[in-house]
Amino acid sequence: MLIGIDVGGTTTDAVVVDGRKVVKTAYVPTDHDNLLKCLLLALDELVQGIDTGKIERVVLSTTLITNMIAEGKTDPVALVLIPGPGTNPRDYALGESIILDGAIDFRGKEIDRLKESQIKEAGASIRAQGLSRVAVVGKFCQRNHAHELKVYEILAAALPGAKIEMGHKVSGQLNFPRRAATTMLTAATIDSYERFAKDVARALKERKISAPVYILKADGGTLPLDKSVQMPVETIFSGPAASIMGVLALTEPGESSVVVDIGGTTTDLALILSGKPLLSAKGARVGSLLTQVRAFAVKSVAIGGDSAVAVSSQGCDPGSESSAPGTRSCCGSLVVGPHRDGSPLCMGGYGPTPTDALRVLGLTQIGDAALAEKAMQIVAQSLGCTVMQAAQKVVDAVVDKIVFEINEMFREWEQEPAYRIWEILKKEKLSARSVVGVGGGAPPLVPLVAARLGAAAIVPEYAPVANAIGAAVARPTLTLNLHIDTEKGEFSVAEDGLMGRVTDQKMTPEDAERLARRLLAERAALLGIGEYAGEAEVTYSEVFNMIRGWSTVGRLMDVRMEIPAGLLPSWRRC
């Protein structure tokens, strides 16, 4: 039996899965001030009458880190940058930072030395500010760790007890400002996350649940809880990831679909292309910061069942209509969202909402019919139309907006830059074959959205707990980016900063892939997910001959190998 628990924005959903069967579900309201408590409440309710000895795995998705960042409750961090030549670091929106001399270039060569006295001064100033968490990030440090290590050493001596995170340990993908942001967020959340992980482990022990506990990451993969403390930021946005994995579990394999998660005030949109959830190209945006966290590309649209419906008293304003239909449709006077005034009127709220409109049209049975009618009367009066017409207009506005944003997502995907001829030639135009709805607002609206897109509407049987199912049956993911420079005789792994020697000057791409596979297996074992290493596939590979003076002096090779987001074999088998 597998347990999945998704601590969501409003409710915490939990599910027990056995093979392909959903054995039991539980829901409790989420208490943002005590995530652990509501997680355990849901768990306790779930396992009542269930033999805890038969639980094979528990997977959690949590909003802990997302909330900490959104509410500004992260720990203060001193950011130390070694930017070298290039962009003025002040042009990056990274906030306060200490800038050190020293530089490494794209080949990993030192082009400017560190100044020891300057690093010591930095240590003194961090101590003077009373900061005990530090992020040290150098440009191209993933190609040569020496500078980050040296700074770490000096700062560790100057700041006893301080926690110091280094960029090359956090991510090795090219993008210095994103790496700096990700490292900073890691330092800012690592302590709280560690406490949370320990509390969860203890609570499960108290409940005699000895099954391994995993956390769901933003890329839809699971990671053992005790290993995840090294990378707390990876757990942001695990809620949307859980929903998408749930849709993957509840639909046909290999399908291309749009995932539409319609909630009270927001609708989350995601794409699954040929059975693979689309990842955001360079990493997730967390608040105002761009990071290198691998995450599904999720677009949040400020519209949902509880969105406030208003009719602006001003006349038509055709000028403002072009970019975003829905927010301003119906001759520019009907406005749906983005804010929420309260519950739908039909459910005891104060003003008209899309839910009232759906009730009036008979597309949903929730809430009071008479109150819904009253709500639409308000709209009808302002628009000068009948109640039914008003309800239809409100629903149309919501559907317009969602359809517009879905088309935008496809357009953005098509417009993603490409750097090779074959990439530009092969990219076909894609459209959704199905629209899959999850979340409370999905059942009445998804068929309308699908009809507009010419796609099939799917609202799976377990749609309300799709997120918890997704958590329960998601398999681990792992990515390894290997960079080899045969002229220097070196390789480096982007994800954990591992470096080593290569001796074969004439290394082939096949050799490089073999090395990548071995390193991935080692890393998987370290992270406690070794049994999945065999599922890894090469997703990217490039080879460049380095020519100097008309002869080949070496090769630069990059291999990306990954265990992509997927479902556990026990779920797939059935």
């Binding site: 930017p83 030549p85 290039g86 962009t87 003025n88 670091p89 002040r90 042009d91 990056y92 530089a103 270039d105 794209f106 080949r107 082009i111 400017d112 440009k139 191209f140 090219l174 993008n175 210095f176 400002p177 994103r178 360079k282 761009l290 098509e414 417009q415 993603e416 830059p417 490409a418 750097y419 090779r420 001829i421 074959w422 530009i424 030639l425 490039e542 460049f544 001959n545 380095m546 020519i547 008309w550 002869s551 080949t552 630069l556």
Partner: protein, 454 residues
């Protein structure tokens, strides 16, 4: 300049053609923009709010035919990589015209500025001229009249010069290392355009070893004042990066900071990458600097590892030579109206020039005779009789006819007659028609007696 005062983003297309090379060890190979990719990606430039990255598209064959006579046709002379490099410039042109961006940089390869009007093969690493294709597109699609092309590559932009030789509305100004000392061996002060467009082609040959100081002297004292007077709708930069002090194929002493400052002052609407072959020591820094300058970002932190300000100093003799050249070119520009008048007086109804063109990359020798009608009512139609031989291979020959925009009816009729006269003439392989006025293009094969067009 035209882009100053505009708000908005800088559009960027990065197309390194990581799967295309002239040959494995050629300077124009896969690796050329690899370290530039590493640098600009590591800088996170594409994430900055001042920059918008665009996806390249393929140019259509018609876009190429607007600028070139490809013999026997466009498809035989280009690969997909060429169409993507050219298409990238058109994507940025569209974004600029739609107001999505205030300026743009097509950081693309393969380059184009040595490709001339007639194309039999690859010259100076170039098959088709991205810049010329961009100019013709901007004029046809968006109706721009006056365009200035400033060629900042170390080599003379002889292809662009050839294509706009007779066009008074396109100012082609190239500064470069003196042709006595560098490929393609042209670009002297006395090359100043056809009789109807004298001084709309300007060349500024510079002594080997010219530094930032020298090039900025040319910019401040010649290029910027001329642009002020020419008042182009758009300024385009053929942005070669081989004036750099580490370039292996040339001998100048320009720095990344000098390049960035040049683009800040020139404020081009669109920049198109040309050459530059110091793949590790120059390109990552120069490209970063150019992008930053165009986006209005601080570029003062861009510095080559071994560069110190004041590292290169021009000799007194070089300074004087540059000043002298600038004065000469300035004089030509100032006398442009008289020069044109005098030139036209001495000529009859037609202007002819015969030339030989050598295609170094493909070892092709071409013989051309170009005839332009000096028409009082329009720019005059043009014919080119060309034959070219690769080694001891086939002698490819073509008769090309070009009808200018806003052609008068007499020129149009005569041009059509010229085309008809050469169709089925077995002494010539192909007959090509470029109707810029109607944006229609025809290719006739005299051997198979078939015509195609777009």
């Amino acid at each position: 300049m035209s882009s100053q005062g505009k708000s908005g983003k800088t559009g960027l297309i990065f197309f390194p053609a990581f799967d295309w090379a002239i040959s494995p060890t050629h300077p124009e190979r896969e690796e050329r923009l690899l370290y530039t990719r590493d640098q600009i990606f590591e800088e996170g430039l594409m994430d900055l709010p001042q920059i918008e990255e665009y996806k390249p598209r393929l140019a259509e064959e018609k876009d190429v035919a607007r600028a070139h006579f490809c013999v026997p046709d466009v498809g035989s002379q280009v690969t997909e990589a060429h169409l993507i490099a050219a298409g990238s410039t058109l994507t940025l042109a569209d974004a600029l015209e739609k107001g999505e961006i205030r300026n743009g940089f097509a950081l693309v390869r393969p380059p184009g500025h040595h490709s001339m009007r007639v194309v039999h093969g690859n010259r100076g690493f170039c098959n088709i001229n991205n810049m010329a294709i961009l100019v013709e597109y901007l004029r046809t699609k968006y109706g721009h009249k006056r365009i200035a092309v400033i060629d900042t590559d170390v080599h003379h932009g002889d292809g662009t010069q050839d294509i706009f030789w007779h066009d008074p509305d396109v100012l082609c100004l190239s500064f470069h290392q003196d042709g006595h000392t560098l490929y393609p061996g042209s670009g002297f002060v006395n090359e100043m355009g056809g009789p109807q467009a004298l001084a709309r082609t300007l060349n500024v040959p510079l002594p080997p070893g010219t530094t930032d100081e020298g090039i900025h002297y040319v910019l401040d004292n010649l290029i910027l004042p001329i642009l002020d007077e020419f008042k182009p709708d758009l300024i385009l930069n053929s942005a070669g990066q081989d004036n750099h002090y580490t370039d292996p194929l040339a001998n100048m002493r320009f720095s990344a900071n000098g390049y960035a400052r040049l683009n800040e002052k020139l404020a081009p609407d669109l920049c198109v990458l040309e050459g530059g072959y110091a793949v590790e020591t120059a390109l990552p820094y120069v490209n970063t600097g150019i992008i930053q300058a165009m986006a209005g970002l601080d570029y003062s932190h861009v510095k080559e590892p071994d560069y110190v300000p004041g590292r290169f100093v021009q000799t007194e003799g070089m300074v004087r030579e540059i000043e002298h050249t600038v004065a000469q070119v300035q004089k030509i520009w100032d006398q442009r109206d008289e020069l044109t008048k005098d030139a036209l007086e001495g000529l009859g109804d037609f202007y002819r020039r015969k030339r030989r063109v050598f295609y170094d990359t493909d070892m092709i020798n071409e013989n051309q005779e170009e005839v332009v009608r000096l028409c009082p009512d329009c720019a005059g139609y043009m014919t080119i009789n060309t034959s070219a031989q690769r080694g001891y291979g086939i002698l490819n020959s073509a008769f090309c006819v070009s009808i200018p925009r806003k052609a008068c009816s007499s020129c149009r009729d005569d041009a059509k007659e010229e085309y008809a006269e050469h169709v089925d003439d077995k002494r010539i392989g192909y007959v090509l028609m470029q109707d810029k006025d109607k944006d229609k293009f025809k290719f006739y094969n005299n051997m198979t007696r078939t015509e195609r067009g777009y």
